[in-house]
Structures are given as structure tokens and as C-alpha cells.
Amino acid sequence: MSDTILAVDNLKKYFPTKRGTVKAVDNISFSVATGETIGLVGESGSGKTTTAQCVIGIYPPTDGEILFKGQTISEAFSKRSKALKRDIRIVFQDPGSSLNPKRSIKQILSVPLNVHRMTTNKDHLVMIKNLLDMVELPADEYMYKYPQAIGGGEKQMVAIARALATNPSMVLLDEPTSALDVSVQGKIINLLMRLGKELDLTYLFITHDLSLMRNVASRVAIMYLGKLCEIAPTVEFFQNPTHPYTKMLLSSIPVVSVEEKALKPTKITSRGEIPSPVNVPPGCSFHSRCPEKMDICTQIDPTMVEIGEGHVTRCHLYQGTKVAASIEQEEGVHAQDPVDQSNSNS
């Protein structure tokens, strides 16, 4: 069993706006084991990006806790230690704007090396060459180029090299290949996976592309309007999806082969619009689009329930199964606590 490297407990992030409070992340809990790749999947307004932003420290949480390697890190980056900034890194979605167009690749890669004093003057250049070698870019050619001169895929590789420059333990990947063509995507994803194994990295992989998740993640978590709907190990997730939103998502994926089509759930098809995060429907936030809505769904928000090995779901359809058992076990304490994920593995 691996240790838990990241634990998110009842995380909330609200943004007050003129039109009301945007509940970007609304009480989510999950944990990530060392070395695993957990996929965080959701559409607009799901809160997946905000979650990552809280983990990396762009925003301090409104409530709840984030624990990294056992230590609380629930604060904005300005208050975080340098060691922490070195240990958790992020790769952003848009390669075009994550590299400073007025700085050469060499200068871009120098920043993390210099900030964390990772090299002496003597081996600074060598270190940069090594980083470029690691992402399979010819160092001599690319060191002095500017971002405009290289393609989107290559820019993303530079961003990855930059993220790995500080020897982190965990890397957040925010839709790293969504802006790239599919023929370029594969190389980058495979590179990430290979480096992940070699350097024993933990990845929090955010995307909306479930087909990609199928091939990359060891566990998948689905978010909708700031809440987690379902978490499961990958294979289990695709073979036995339980939450209606999960099924809706899976049935909407555009696929390219007959075999894949056969894997998609057919009974639930997408309908309805995604509500605005300012105006979240009461009870279960998905009820306005759910084909299996019951009366209780409009009034009470369901809680996470374990329905299998490492498989949890948040839906009234499954509340009956485990709630009774948990209540018995915990002697009257209502089973509101999030299920501990530290023992689950791919």
C-alpha cells in the first residue's frame, strides 16, 4: 500500500460576486496515493480547475483543509514555504501563454533553477541541457529559441521540463494537451507517463477528455458544479459507472470505433443545460438534468457512499446500500464523513 501524499478534506472555495456567491468548490474530499495518477474530470463550472488552484496555492481555501505529506498547506502561495513550492508544480493548459514570449527557452528554464538554487554557476548550462534531453528536445537547438519559434507540442514539453526542474513529488496537470492536435498529444502523454514512473511522480491530471483518462489514470474522479459525483479505479469506473452524471458523460463521448461504441452506456443520453455556479439547484445539484430523479433529490443533497473497493458515489439511488451499515458501525454518528481513500489503489 502506498502512502497518501495529498488529502483534501471538505474543501470549499467560494467567490463572492455581485450576482451572488459562486460556489466553485463545495465540500469535496478525496486523497491521492504516492505515485498514482488521479484524473479529475468535469465540464464547465465543475470546479476541477479551482480545486487544482487551491492545491497549488493560487487561492486559499474558503474552508476545509489540504494536507500534503501530512502537513497542512491550505494557504495561498505567498505564505507557503519555498520547499513546498519546489515540491508541488503545475503545467498549465495553454502552452501559448504559459511561456513568456520575450524570454528564451534557456531563460525560462533558468527561473526555477535559480529560485531554488538548484545549480551552481558551473553546471547551470549542463542542468538546462539535461532538462531538455529529458523531454527529448535537442538542447543545442532549442536553448536559444523563443517560444514563438516552436510548435505547441514542443512548448508544452518545455513547460513540463520547467515543472520537473525542481524535482517535485507531485505535479498538477491542468488539461496539458487540450489545446494540442491529437497527433501531437500522444507523444506528450507518453512522455509524462514515462517520466512519472522514472521519477516516482504523483499526478493530479485534470481534463474533460474521458478517453484520455481511460488510458492514463489509475483512478478517476468526476466533478459537477463544485461537488464530487463519483470516484473509482479506472477500469471499474468505465465498466461499472453508477452516478447518472457519469453515465451521461460517458454516453456523450465522441468515439471512433465500433468497439468503443459498444462500451458506452446507451440508456442515459445528455440533456439539459449546465446550471450556472451562482444558481446551483437545491438538493442534489444534478437533479435538474437527471433522468432518474426522485423526490428526495430536489430536497436533500446526497452524501458519498462506498459501493465497491475504492469506488464511491454520491447519489440517492445508492444511499440505501451502505448508509444503514455505516450507521450501525459508528453507533449513531451519521455517516457524513468522507470515505478514507488512503487504502485504495489502481
Binding site: D181, V182, Q185, N215, M248, P254, T269, E273
Partner: protein
């Protein structure tokens, strides 16, 4: 089946200060009445340039039509005068684009914009309608696209709507005309996947109902699988493969098509291929022969010197590759 659109050997380039970008290099495309055809290609392959050429909205100083013809119902669009093109655009051709926020005017309500279009298109068919009838027609059009609460939407501004709703407005605008040919340029790329699914299914229905011919341009193979009957794969300004959608998916022939299919992550979970090595060619100095040759595993000497034409492999299947020269 009558041929609606026939693009023959289209060559289009752009004059920029570094030189001449030779983008479209002999594009061939046909679309028959009632057909649904897909055009798949990645960034920079020239698909948007093709659409803009058909609609004649290319900015002509940098752009140059270096050769070829685009026939619409046997009349060459490229040779048409201003007025003819405008009539064509009002009555026969219609389009929806990738970013609905850019296609819709932000300072007018949905109702105003929709009414304008409906009024204009009905005007061409000689009917004179009252304001009320036009509004009713607009609301109908919105309902047809699956828009919730269309009456209220009429008085909203585009910025107040979600991406999916805006695209529905664009579809309503496009399909409430008398147009016979719909050009859809990446219509769902910016949308969430559940919304994309709804919109595509709706488009499918509507296009069937109104018997409109559709050319869907996209980089997503998954989108064209269900929606189209015939498919073109485009690379670096040429069509590299053409055929019935089902057959093409089942058995891609061109090395680029094969690489593309392999690159798409599959739900079956067999891992991800490394994609296609290399980059698209520099249009300032493109390869003289086959433009895919520098990246092709099966490259032969002839590929460097001669541009492969679309060979007829079997009934309706064309591949621009010397491997299939029979």
C-alpha cells in the same frame, strides 16, 4: 444525385512579407444534394481556408486564388460578381462557426438578430410577413434547436447565454433560411462534451428534416463518425483520403489517416500511441512532391518528386498516396 458543390483543384496562397504561403495545394471536394460530408484535418491543414474560399470571405490582398474552380450548382463561385455572391449567401449557402460569441453581434438581442435574418430570407422567397409572424417563426426556429424557454431567450443578449445556447442560436439563424448547403466549421469544439453531444444530435435531426446538405469541418474524428456519410481527410492543403465514413474508420489507407486514427485515445484502454513524428510542412517552402513525405514511414523516392493524385482504390474510395498506385 445532383452535385451541389464541386471544388476542383483549388490552389490558394497568402502573400506575406517573408514570402508566399502556398497553403491549399489542389483541394478536391464534392458534395451532393442531401449528403452529409465531413472534412477532418488538424491545425494548419487549410480547412478553414477552404471554407472561406467557398464563402468568398478570404481577405484578398494577402490571399490569392492561384488556381482551380469552386462550382456551386455548376456555376463557378470564384468567377461570380459581387451581387451574385451576395444572393448566393442569402439564399443558398449558410454557415456556422466555431466561436458563437464572435458570430453573434453582442449589442443586439437574440430576437433582433434572428428577426433580421428571417425577414431577409423570407424576403427572397417573395413572401411578406407581419412582425408578429416573423417573431413566431423565430421562436419556432429556436424551439427546433432544442433551446429551453425560447420566448425568454429572444430578449436576451448573447453574452447572457451559455456557449451551448449561443450555438443553438447560430444554428437557428443558419437553418431558418432557405439555404440548401450548410457549412459547419468546428461547430462544437468550444462546447462541453455533454452539450456537444446534444447539439450534434439536434443538428443531425434538423438537417434530416429540412433536407439540407452539410459539410462539417472539424479536427475531431469522433464528431464525424455518427454525423457524416462520407469523409475527407485533409493534410497540409490537400485531400489525402476520401471515402464512406464507416469504411474509412474501419480501414484507413493513407499513412496520415492511419497515424491519426491510432493517435486518438480509445475507450477500450489500449494505451496511447506516440502520435505522428515531425511537424506540418512550412508553407513558405513546402515539399515539392507529397507533403506528408517527410513524416511518412513508407516514403519512396517518387514521393519526394511528384505529388500523388487521388487514386481511385475501390468504389468511391480515393487515396492520395503512391502506395496505392494501381
Amino acid at each position: 444525385m445532383a452535385l451541389l458543390l464541386d471544388v476542383k483543384d483549388l490552389h490558394v496562397g497568402f502573400k506575406i512579407f517573408e514570402g508566399y504561403l502556398s497553403v491549399l495545394n489542389g483541394v478536391e471536394l464534392t458534395l451532393g444534394e442531401g449528403e452529409r460530408v465531413g472534412l477532418v484535418g488538424e491545425t494548419g491543414c487549410g480547412k478553414t481556408t477552404t471554407v472561406k474560399s467557398i464563402l468568398r470571405v478570404l481577405p484578398m490582398p494577402p490571399a490569392r486564388i492561384a488556381g482551380g474552380e469552386i462550382f456551386y450548382r455548376n456555376k463557378d463561385i470564384l468567377k461570380m460578381k459581387r451581387r451574385e455572391i451576395q444572393t448566393l449567401r442569402r439564399a443558398e449557402l449558410t454557415a456556422i462557426f466555431q466561436d458563437p460569441l464572435m458570430s453573434l453581434n453582442p449589442v443586439f438581442t437574440v430576437g433582433t438578430q434572428l428577426r433580421d435574418i428571417v425577414k431577409d430570407s423570407l424576403g427572397t422567397s417573395g413572401k411578406k410577413l407581419t412582425k408578429k409572424q416573423i417573431t413566431t417563426r423565430c421562436i419556432e426556429a429556436l424551439k427546433e434547436t432544442g433551446m429551453p424557454d425560447p420566448e425568454r431567450i429572444m430578449s436576451n443578449y448573447p453574452i447572457q447565454l451559455s456557449g451551448g445556447m449561443r450555438q443553438r442560436v447560430c444554428i437557428a439563424e443558419a437553418l431558418s433560411t432557405t439555404a440548401q448547403l450548410l457549412l459547419a466549421d468546428e461547430p462544437t469544439t468550444n462546447l462541453d462534451v455533454t452539450i456537444q453531444d446534444q447539439i450534434l444530435r439536434k443538428l443531425d435531426e434538423l438537417v434530416d428534416e429540412k433536407n439540407v446538405s452539410v459539410l462539417i469541418i472539424t479536427h475531431s474524428l469522433g464528431v464525424v463518425m455518427d454525423l457524416t456519410q462520407r469523409l475527407y481527410i485533409m493534410y497540409a492543403g490537400t485531400m489525402v483520403e476520401e471515402g464512406k465514413t464507416e469504411e474509412l474508420f474501419a480501414r484507413p489507407l493513407h499513412p496520415y489517416s492511419q497515424g491519426l486514427m491510432k493517435s486518438v485515445p480509445k475507450l477500450t484502454g489500449e494505451g496511447i500511441s506516440d502520435g505522428i513524428p515531425g511537424r506540418i510542412p512550412n508553407y513558405l517552402d513546402p515539399p515539392a512532391g507529397c507533403r506528408f513525405e517527410p513524416r511518412c514511414k513508407h516514403a519512396m523516392p517518387i514521393c519526394q518528386t511528384e505529388k500523388p493524385p487521388l487514386f481511385n482504390v475501390e468504389n468511391g474510395r480515393h487515396v492520395a498516396c503512391f502506395l496505392y498506385r494501381s
